[in-house]
């Protein structure tokens, strides 16, 4: 069964800490994404990547960075966590548009609380 695996289901961090959220996919997808999901705001795109070592800013990249050293792994980094980054973080992967079957496959999410 195809999978997108996020390293932590729940995470509690303190303000100012550096936080790493890891995501691994086993479908050989080129595209990978990081979203955050907040009540009433829906899913908002933080960063995405088309290929290894490639990254593009999404709608809300401030306070975040990403790393994609291998095709299957996409990491989200909070350089200095703040309370307004408390949220559900969702990783997703897909094939590129135009190749068909371009639906997003999501991980189960990481609920991050910053205290």
């Amino acid at each position: 069964d195809v999978k997108v695996t996020q390293s932590s289901r729940y995470l509690v961090k303190r303000t100012g800490e550096k936080v790493f959220l890891e995501c691994v996919q086993d479908m050989d997808h080129e595209n990978m994404f990081w979203y955050r999901q907040d009540p009433g705001l829906g899913l908002r795109l933080i960063y995405f990547s088309y290929d290894v070592k490639m990254k593009e800013k999404g709608d809300i990249p401030e306070g975040y960075s990403v790393s994609r050293e291998k095709k299957e792994r996409f990491s989200l980094i909070l350089e200095s966590a703040s309370t307004n980054q408390t949220s559900m973080y969702l990783c997703a992967s897909s094939n590129p548009p135009g190749q068909g079957n371009e639906k997003l496959f999501f991980g189960s999410g990481t609920q991050l609380s910053v205290l």
Binding site: F33, G42, L43, F48, Y50, A92, P96, P97, L104, S108
Partner: protein, 110 residues
């Protein structure tokens, strides 16, 4: 700026009571309208993709339709296991970016 608006925010149905969820979109050059289902504490799960006005897709009790301005997710004779949040997303213009709506939270009771 691309926008996707879903209504209603929440919907409560009795088992067997059919209804429709709405997704209105404003996207430059629509390249796909997507429906996802999300259960509590889980990531969204893909349901359908629609590409052009007039297109319809069905899966069990669900049917998705598309016009030039909106999409509907019709739920026929729902069961309690259909309870979930249903998300709509649109891809427009270039690249892989999707714009998501805020979802409709559906509850189906016995």
């Amino acid at each position: 700026e691309d926008q996707v608006t879903q209504s209603p925010e929440a919907l409560r149905l009795q088992e067997g009571e059919s209804s429709s969820l709405n997704c209105s979109y404003t996207v430059s050059g629509l390249r796909g309208l997507f429906w996802y289902r999300q259960d509590p504490g889980k990531g969204p799960e893909f349901l359908f993709t629609l590409y052009s006005a007039g297109e319809e897709k069905e899966k069990e009790r669900l049917k998705a339709t598309l016009t030039k301005k909106e999409s509907f997710l019709h739920i026929t004779a729902p069961k309690p296991e259909d309870s979930a949040t249903y998300l709509c997303a649109a891809r427009g213009g270039t690249a892989s970016k999707l714009t998501f709506g805020t979802g409709t939270r559906l509850q189906v009771t016995l």
